[in-house]
């Protein structure tokens, strides 16, 4: 079974925190396609 890429990256040492620093909001367009809205997540305490 295929190991998820993220899991594999983390096993190779990539810190998950890098991706958690990005906020993603999932939306849907009128014809059903997805629209992902990315922004910089606020830093803790900021």
């Amino acid at each position: 079974m295929k190991e998820p890429a993220q899991q594999r990256s983390e096993r190779r040492g990539a810190p998950k925190a890098r991706i958690e620093a990005v906020k993603r909001v999932d939306m849907e367009l009128a014809d059903g396609r997805y629209l992902l809205v990315y922004s910089r997540a606020a830093k803790p305490g900021a």
Binding site: R18, R33, S39
Partner: protein, 323 residues
């Protein structure tokens, strides 16, 4: 509906996507990638945004289809990455923090799309400029989630694996050590190296590497992502300064396949192929490139690197000095 066919002579897949023949082409009165507000008719019905990703309305690959054999399972996909709501900007003119966010978005898409069982390679790229065939000028890139490892990546990985097995060393890492301080380097930092490759196909081809041996963009740590964003701005800005106009290019990310295997030979890097050989002349792919697969380059990599090195330096000199 997109379809894949396999050519046994070239041993390569060819994608057919007939709907793309009628896709939006250089619109002048309406941009599909600009924010159009709630209920708007563009691809981004938002008031504004930082970076958005959406499924391409005219995909070159996926979803599943069955046609003549052999056809690989290909429930894959194509995404558009819009870098900014500002229609007239380019990657070279984005603020550093936006490019840094892009690096994170690319990493997230690599991991997300690469986790799909059928996706073997996440190909992230940008076509910029009409000279390389863009149909929309709004700053954006694309991602193809492929059901196979594409030929250029395959041959690069095969060479790197052979070298790793015979020498125990990464072919890319060896190249970096050689290029970082050599005559073809255009920008070096403790984290990244940008250089014109020794056997560049394109006159102003540039490769950008993280110095650390990482297989994918998702493997970069925070400092390396910061440095990568700076390196991308340095290279694209150098192109614009050298040529004196917003320079067209193809930008391609090469990294590890996502087929579930181990790829110790993979080393993430970006490749830039600008089509210009002079400000007023383009390099065309013609008989020897298209028919024989051999590139003829009218410039020496050491000379084009010197031009770009000066242009990088000019960009650094313009930056405000921190207090």
């Amino acid at each position: 509906m997109p379809e894949l066919r396999f050519d046994p002579l070239r041993r390569e897949w060819v994608a057919y996507a007939t709907e793309r023949n009628d896709r939006t082409f250089l619109p002048t009165s309406f941009c599909p990638l600009c924010p159009s507000g709630e209920g708007g008719t563009s691809e981004v019905p938002l008031d504004t945004f930082e970076v958005v990703v959406f499924e391409n309305r005219f995909p070159a690959f996926g979803p599943d289809r069955v046609h003549e054999r052999p056809v690989r399972p290909s429930s894959t996909g194509c995404e558009v990455v819009v870098y900014t709501p500002e229609h007239s900007l380019t990657l070279a003119r984005l603020p550093l923090d936006r490019v840094r966010l892009l690096v994170d978005v690319w990493a997230e898409r690599y991991s997300d799309l690469g986790s799909r069982p059928e996706v073997q390679y996440v190909y992230i790229f940008e076509n910029k400029g009409e000279e390389v065939g863009v149909t929309l000028h709004h700053p954006h890139g694309q991602i193809y989630a492929l059901p196979f490892v594409p030929p250029f990546a395959q041959s690069e990985l095969a060479a790197a694996r052979e070298h790793l097995e015979s020498s125990g060393r990464c072919l890319h890492c060896e190249q970096l050590e050689r290029e970082a301080a050599g005559p073809r380097a255009i920008a070096s930092t403790p984290e990244t190296v940008a250089f014109v490759p020794n056997a560049a196909r394109w006159p102003f081809e540039v490769h950008v590497y993280p110095r650390r041996h990482v297989a994918s963009i998702a493997d970069l740590d925070a400092a390396e992502r910061d440095a990568l964003a700076e390196a991308l701005l340095a290279v694209t800005g150098a192109y614009d300064r050298h040529f004196g106009f917003s320079t067209p290019y193809v930008m391609a990310l090469h990294q590890a396949p996502t087929d579930g295997g181990e790829w110790p030979e993979a080393h993430l890097h970006f490749e830039f192929y600008p089509p210009h050989r002079r400000p007023d002349r383009l390099k065309y792919l013609a008989g020897v490139e298209l028919g024989a697969g051999t590139f003829v380059n009218d410039t020496r990599p050491e000379d084009t690197a010197a031009h770009l090195r000066r242009a990088v330096g000019a960009g650094v000199a313009k930056r405000p000095v921190p207090a």
